[in-house]
Symmetry: C2
C-alpha cells in the first residue's frame, strides 16, 4: 500500500540520506550489524548511517506495536521480527519515519542523541539478517531458463513443465554469507566432453547468477498450505542474491537430482532487507503472458497478485578485475536488467512451496532464480553472456572473460525508481574470487 511514508517531499535530518542514497527515509531497510567492538544487533539503514534499534529502545522512542516490533528487530537476528508479519513492521516503519524526518516534530528530541543512536555504516560489520533455516532457489527468470535451455536443447529450450510449475529446488542454507565475504573457488569433479573420465580439481567455469532473495515472514505449520490470497503476508522483505555457480561441476553432477556441489560452496546476499512496505510504489502487474501461454492454475491465481504482485527493480552486475584496477579503470558493467522479467511472483513462490504442506519458517530464504532479460545486455550470468564459454567478453583493460578469474570481484546492485517517488536501493552484494585450495 502506498501511504504517507512514501511522500517524495520528505527528507531526513540525516543529511546523507537525501539525494541519491540507496537508503533515503523512504526506504528504511532492516539488517544486523556490529558497531566497532560491539555485538551483532538490529539496525535500520539511513543514508550512510545505521540507526541502532537497541539504543532507540533505551531512549524510549517507541510505544505500542512499533515498540514490540523494534524489540523483535533489536536482537542478533531478525527472525523474531520477521515472524511478526506486516502490521507491526509497518507500524515500526511509520514511527521511524517520524523519528528521522527533517521537518518532523520528533527531530528536536532525537537528533541530540545522534551520536549514540547512529553508527557510520562504513565502520560497522554487516551480518546475515536472519538465521536461515532453509533456503530454496526458484528458476523464475524465463529468459534465463530459455537461454540456458538453448545451450542444451536448441529446438526446445523450455521444458514442458516450465509455464505451469514455479520450478525450484532446495539449496544449502549453511553456506549463505553476507556481501563482502570472499568466494573460494571450489574444487570438484568435472569432465570435459573430450575426456573419458572425470578429474578432481579447481572449477574452471566459475560463474555468478543475478537474483533477488526473499525472506519469509510468519510462515506456516507443516501440513497447512498458505493460500495464494494470503501469501503476500508471508514475505518479510527482499535482498540481492548471487547464486555463485561452478558450471563444469554442475554439468557433470546435476543429473538426475539437480545441482549440488556446483552451488553450495557459497551464496552471497546483500545484508539489508528492503521491506514490502518500502517497495509498494514499485509494484507492477504480473507481466502479461505471451499468447498461447497457459493461465496459472487456480492455486497460483489471485487477482491482486496479478495486478501488483511483481516488482520493477533495476538490477546491475559489475565486474572489477585485477587488470581494470591496475589500469585505474572503473568496474565493467556486465548487464542491466529488471526483476519484471520474472515469470512468477513472490506470492506464487509461497503458495507453490506450501501447496503440498511443506512448512516455511520465519527467516527462511527464497531465491528468484537468475534474472535475465531477452537481450544480451540484460543476461544475468556469464554462462549466457559468453554463450557457455564460447564467446569471451573483452574488457577495457584488454582482459577476456569466459568465466570468472581469481581476483575478480562481482558486484550486484539494485534500485527501484518510479516517476513521482524517491528511488530506493539495496546496497551492494559483492564477492571476490580467491584461488582454489591446492
Amino acid at each position: 500500500m502506498i501511504d504517507a511514508t512514501h511522500d517524495p517531499a520528505r527528507t531526513s535530518w540525516v543529511a546523507s540520506a537525501n539525494g541519491h542514497s540507496d537508503f533515503p527515509i523512504q526506504n528504511l531497510p532492516f539488517g544486523i550489524f556490529s558497531p566497532p567492538g560491539g555485538q551483532p544487533r538490529g539496525g535500520v539503514a539511513i543514508g550512510d548511517d545505521i540507526l541502532d534499534l537497541a539504543v532507540a529502545l533505551e531512549l524510549g522512542l517507541f510505544e505500542g506495536i512499533a515498540k514490540a516490533a523494534a524489540q523483535a528487530a533489536a536482537g542478533s537476528t531478525l527472525n523474531a521480527f520477521f515472524a511478526l508479519g506486516a502490521a507491526p513492521r509497518a507500524a515500526l516503519r511509520a514511527r521511524l519515519v517520524q523519528l528521522l524526518d527533517a521537518h518532523g516534530v520528533e527531530r528536536s528530541n532525537v537528533e541530540p542523541h545522534a551520536g549514540r543512536l547512529l553508527h557510520r555504516a562504513a565502520d560497522c560489520t554487516l551480518h546475515l539478517p536472519a538465521a536461515i533455516g532453509d533456503y530454496t532457489d526458484f528458476y523464475a527468470g524465463i529468459s534465463h531458463a530459455t537461454n540456458v535451455g538453448k545451450l542444451f536443447r536448441p529446438d526446445n529450450p523450455l521444458l514442458p513443465n516450465y509455464k505451469y510449475v514455479p520450478i525450484g529446488y532446495h539449496g544449502r542454507a549453511s553456506s549463505i554469507r553476507p556481501s563482502g565475504f570472499d568466494v573460494r573457488r571450489p574444487n570438484g569433479q568435472r569432465k570435459r566432453a573430450d575426456e573419458a573420465e572425470p578429474t578432481f580439481g579447481p572449477s574452471g567455469n566459475l560463474d555468478y547468477e543475478l537474483e533477488l532473495g526473499i525472506f519469509v515472514g510468519p510462515g506456516n505449520a507443516l501440513g497447512e498450505p498458505v493460500s495464494i490470497h494470503a501469501a503476500g503476508e508471508h514475505i518479510a522483505g527482499f535482498c540481492l542474491l548471487n547464486d555463485w555457480s561452478a558450471r563444469d561441476i554442475q554439468g557433470w553432477e546435476y543429473q538426475p537430482l539437480g545441482p549440488f556441489l556446483a552451488k553450495n560452496f557459497i551464496t552471497t546476499v546483500s545484508p539489508w532487507v528492503v521491506t514490502p512496505e518500502a517497495l509498494a510504489p514499485f509494484r507492477i502487474p504480473q507481466p502479461v503472458r505471451p499468447q498461447g501461454d497457459p493461465a496459472p492454475l487456480p492455486y497460483l491465481l489471485d487477482a491482486a497478485d496479478q495486478a501488483q504482485g511483481a516488482l520493477d527493480i533495476t538490477l546491475e552486475v559489475l565486474i572489477e578485475t585485477p587488470g581494470l584496477k591496475e589500469k585505474g579503470l572503473p568496474p565493467h558493467r556486465l548487464s542491466r536488467g529488471s526483476s519484471s522479467d520474472l515469470y512468477w511472483t513472490a506470492a506464487q513462490f509461497v503458495a507453490h512451496h506450501t501447496c503440498g504442506g511443506c512448512n516455511l519458517s520465519p527467516g527462511d530464504l527464497m531465491g528468484t532464480g537468475t534474472i535475465s532479460g531477452p537481450t544480451p545486455d540484460s543476461f544475468g550470468s556469464l554462462l549466457e553472456l559468453s554463450q557457455g564459454g564460447k564467446a569471451p567478453l573483452t574488457l577495457a583493460s584488454g582482459e577476456e572473460r569466459r568465466f570468472l578469474e581469481d581476483g575478480d570481484t562481482v558486484i550486484i546492485t539494485g534500485r527501484a525508481a518510479r516517476e513521482g517517488f524517491v528511488s530506493i536501493g539495496f546496497g551492494a552484494c559483492s564477492g571476490t574470487i580467491l584461488p582454489a585450495l591446492g
Copy 2:
C-alpha cells in the same frame, strides 16, 4: 573399534534390555524425549526404558569427559553432543555400560535410583534428536538407481556420472519429523501422459523410500574441506529414514532441477541415534566394485574406509493396511534388504559434500538414498516393487497396492547382527497416511 563395550556376555540390570531388545546394553543409542508432563531432554534407550541423562547428572554418576558429554547430551537437542566428536561420546558410552551392567560394581549405587533415572519409553514422547540445520539426501543405493533408471531408460539405466559422483541433493530440513508423526497426502501438480495439461490435486502415487539417516558430528568451516581420512570423525550416528515421495508430482516437476515438492511434505526419521561405537562390530568392507567399475577418485579413497567403511544392517519395510487390521492379519513385509547394498560409504558422503568447501554443521542430516537389493524381495520403494504402478501387489487381506492408500502405515525397522555379538536395533520409523486436504 570393537572394545569391551561389545562383550556379548554382558547383560543389564534393566531386564527388558536382555534377550532380543533393539536396545541391549551393547547399543545405548541417544535421543531426545519428554517424560509425561515433562520437557524435552536427552536420554539413552535401554530395553523398554529411557535413562534420563539430566537425572544421572544430578546423581553425580559422571566425571571427566564422560560428564562433559552427558551435559552436552542432556539438553533439548543433541547438537552440542554431536559437536563434541567421537572421544567424549565413546567415554560416555563406556561409563553408561558400567552404570547399567547387571554384574558391574556400580549396580548397587545406581539401581536404587531407577525410579527417577529410568522412564518407561512407552509413556514418553520422542522428538527429533537434533535441530537439523541442513538436510542432504544422497542416492547411493545402486540397485535402486538402476531400478528407477530402467523405468525411464531401459537400455541405459545408470547415468554416466553415477559410479564417479556420490550423487546427492539438498532436501528440506523443516519438514523432518520423528517416527509416528502422521503423513498428510500432499496436493500438487501432476500430469498423466495422456493428459494435455497438468491438474492440481492429491497425489495418486504416494510412496515410501527406505533409507538410513546419518547425523553430522563436529562438521567444518566454510571453505575447509574434510579429507576422506578424517571424514569418519564427523559422523555422530545413524537412524532409519523414510523419504516419502509423491511419484506423480515428482515426475512432472523434477526437470531440470530435481525433486522439490514431491519430497518436502515430510521426511520421517527414527528418533534414536545409534552411534558409530555401537555399530563397530557390524562394519564391513566397501562392497567390491564389479569388474569394469572405476575406482573412487583419490579424494574419496581411504584404505580404512575401503576396509571397514560400510555397514551390514538388515532393513525391513512392513505395511499395515486398514484391510489387514480389520481381518486381524499381521503387517505385510514389503521387503528385506541390507545397507551393504550402498555404493558409497558415510565417510565418502562427508568427503564429497565438503570437497568444494561446503560447511557441515553438528546435527545436519544426510540420507543414504533408497536402499534396494538386486531382487524384488529387497526393493526399497513401491515404485520398484510395483514396476512404476504397473504390477500391483496383493496382500493377504485381498487388498492390492500399487502405491500407498489413506490409512496405510509404513514401518521401517533395522537390525545389525553378527556371529559372536549381541545384535542391536534401531527402533521403528513409522508413519500413517492421512487423506489429502480437500
